[in-house]
C-alpha cells in the first residue's frame, strides 16, 4: 500500500518537475532580466552576492540547521523598494544548549585570538630572538618581493640576504648607508603582518 502511494507521489512530483524544466521563453527572459537589472542598478556583482551568501550561512548556522546548498539569496524589486530576499530551507532549529555551545565556542576562539594577538604584539617590541624567527619565516618564501627598506642607496634591493644585514638586526641596519631606515620599517611591517595574520 505504501509503495503505491510513494509511486504515485513520485509520479506527480515528476510531472511538476518536468513542467518546471520546460520553462517557457517568456519566464526565462523575465527571470534573466530581473537578475541582470538588479546587478546593473546596484552594482552588486555575483561574486559579492556569493560572499554575502557564505557569510549569512556562517552566521545563521549558529541558530538553525539548514540546507546550505539550497539557500537562496536574491535581490528583488518590490514596487519602488529594492529588497534582499533570503530563502533558507531549515532542517531544524537548534535548541538553546546548542546555541549556547556555539556561542561559548566562538568566545573561546575570540579569547584565544585576543591573547595571541596581545602576546605577539608584546613579543615584537620586547624580544629580539622571536623577531628574528618571525622575520625569516615570513621573509624567506617571498623571494620575489623587494627588500622592504627600498632605499636607493641600500644594496639589499638586489642582493637581499648577502650584502644587507638588515634582516638580522632590528633597529640598526648594517648596510652601511646613513639614510637606510630598513630597521624601522621592518619592525612595523612585521607588526602589520602579524595583525592581518591574526584576523
Amino acid at each position: 500500500m505504501k509503495d503505491i502511494f510513494t509511486d504515485l507521489y513520485n509520479k506527480v512530483l515528476g510531472f511538476f518537475k518536468q513542467a518546471e524544466i520546460e520553462e517557457n521563453a517568456k519566464e526565462v527572459a523575465c527571470n534573466r532580466l530581473r537578475v541582470v537589472l538588479m546587478q546593473d542598478r546596484t552594482n552588486i556583482n555575483p561574486a559579492l552576492m556569493e560572499k554575502m551568501r557564505k557569510e549569512l550561512v556562517e552566521l545563521l548556522s549558529k541558530y538553525v540547521e539548514m540546507d546550505k546548498e539550497a539557500l537562496e539569496l536574491n535581490l528583488e524589486q518590490d514596487g519602488e523598494q529594492m529588497a534582499l530576499m533570503l530563502s533558507i530551507p531549515v532542517i531544524r532549529a537548534k535548541d538553546e544548549d546548542e546555541i549556547a555551545d556555539c556561542e561559548s565556542a566562538e568566545e573561546d576562539i575570540k579569547d584565544s585570538d585576543d591573547v595571541i594577538g596581545e602576546r605577539e604584539a608584546e613579543e615584537v617590541e620586547a624580544t629580539e630572538d622571536n623577531e628574528e624567527r618571525e622575520e625569516t619565516s615570513e621573509e624567506a618564501p617571498e623571494e620575489d618581493e623587494k627588500c622592504i627598506c627600498s632605499e636607493v642607496e641600500c644594496f639589499c634591493i638586489d642582493e637581499k640576504s648577502d650584502k644587507c644585514e638588515c634582516t638580522e638586526k632590528e633597529e640598526i641596519c648594517d648596510c652601511g648607508k646613513e639614510d637606510c631606515k630598513c630597521g624601522e620599517k621592518l619592525s612595523t611591517v612585521i607588526q602589520e603582518k602579524k595583525q592581518t595574520g591574526n584576523k
Binding site: N24, A25, K26, E27, A29, C30, R32, L33, R34, V36, L37, D40, R41, Q77, G79, E80
Partner: protein, 289 residues
C-alpha cells in the same frame, strides 16, 4: 488657439506667451522604433489640431525626414540654425498634408558635436513659444547625442520592445533620466508587441515589462507590417485609420493630450479577428482562413 486645454503646461491665459511641452523620445537601444514613434505621435497630435514641431537630433544619421516623406524639402538643418546661416523659422519644414506639423531636420554631414546641449536647450525654448508640442527625436546610445536631446526636454517617452536587450537599455535610460532634474516625468511606450507570441508564452507580456521596469505606460503598439509599407511611402501609419498600429499611436497621442484612453487588449483584438475568420471559415467549410 485651442478651446479647451486639459494640461496645466499648455494652459494659456490671456497675454501670456504660449509654452508648449517639450517631449524627448528616447530608447537607449537602436532600432526599437524611436523615429517611427516620433513621426506617428507628431502626426497624430497635429491631426488632433495641435501645433507640433519635431526636432531630429540624430546628427549624421537623420531619418525622421524619410518617415515623413519630407526628404526633398529640406533646405536648412539644425546645424545651419546653430551656426547662424539661417533663422530658426526658415529651417522648419512644413508637412505636406498638415500645416500644423513642422520638422527641424538634422544635418546629415555632421557629427553629434556640431550642436551643444545649451544650443539645443535654446532652440527648444524658442520653439516652445510657437508650438504646443516640441518632440525631440533622440539618437540611440547614452553619449553626447542623448545628452543633447534630453537637455531641452521636460518630459520623456521611452520606447522599448518586449526583448531583453531593449528592456535592459530602457532601464539604463530610466536611471539616467531620473538623475536629470529637468525631466519631470517619463513614460514607457511598448513597441512591436506580438500578441501571438505573448499568448504562447514565448514573448514577455506588457505586464511583465511594466513590472520589471516599474514605469508608467503610455502606449502599447502591436507589431504591424503596415509600418514597413508606410515607411516606404513616407507616410506615417496614423494616416491609415484601419491599421491597428495606427490606432494605437492615435491613442498614445490622446493620452499625451490628457485623455484617459484604456489600453488596447491586443490579445482580444486579434482573437476577435480570429473568431470572425473562424466563423467564416466554418461557414464556407474547407476554405482556408
Amino acid at each position: 488657439m485651442i478651446e479647451t486645454e486639459t494640461f496645466t503646461q499648455t494652459k494659456k491665459t490671456k497675454g501670456e506667451i504660449m509654452s508648449g511641452r517639450v517631449i524627448v523620445i528616447t530608447s537607449g537601444k537602436g532600432g526599437v522604433g524611436k523615429t517611427t514613434t516620433n513621426a506617428n505621435i507628431g502626426t497624430a497630435l497635429a491631426k488632433a489640431g495641435k501645433k507640433v514641431v519635431m526636432i531630429d537630433t540624430d546628427l549624421g544619421l537623420r531619418n525622421l525626414d524619410l518617415l515623413l516623406g519630407l526628404e526633398n524639402r529640406i533646405v536648412y538643418t539644425i546645424v545651419d540654425v546653430v551656426e547662424e546661416r539661417c533663422k530658426l523659422k526658415q529651417a522648419l519644414v512644413k508637412d505636406k498634408k498638415n500645416p500644423n506639423l513642422c520638422l527641424l531636420a538634422a544635418a546629415q554631414t555632421r557629427d553629434k558635436s556640431a550642436v551643444t546641449q545649451e544650443q539645443l536647450k535654446d532652440i527648444c525654448k524658442k520653439l516652445q513659444k510657437d508650438f504646443d508640442y516640441v518632440l525631440v527625436d533622440c539618437p540611440a546610445g547614452i553619449e553626447q547625442g542623448f545628452q543633447n536631446a534630453v537637455a531641452g526636454a521636460t518630459e520623456a517617452i521611452i520606447v522599448t520592445t518586449p526583448e531583453m536587450s531593449a528592456v535592459r537599455d530602457a532601464d539604463r535610460i530610466i536611471g539616467l533620466l531620473e538623475s536629470k532634474e529637468e525631466i519631470q516625468s517619463y513614460k514607457l511606450l511598448l513597441n512591436r508587441v506580438r500578441p501571438n507570441l505573448v499568448k504562447s508564452n514565448d514573448m514577455m507580456s506588457v505586464d511583465d515589462v511594466v513590472e520589471i521596469l516599474s514605469a508608467e505606460l503610455i502606449g502599447i503598439i502591436p507589431e504591424d507590417t503596415g509600418i514597413i509599407t508606410s515607411t516606404n511611402k513616407g507616410e506615417p501609419i496614423v494616416n491609415d485609420e484601419k491599421s491597428l498600429a495606427g490606432r494605437a499611436y492615435h491613442n498614445v497621442a490622446k493620452r499625451i493630450m490628457g485623455e484617459e484612453i484604456p489600453f488596447m487588449n491586443l490579445e482580444e483584438e486579434t482573437s476577435v479577428v480570429a473568431k470572425v475568420k473562424k466563423f467564416f471559415s466554418g461557414l464556407v467549410g474547407k476554405e482556408k482562413k
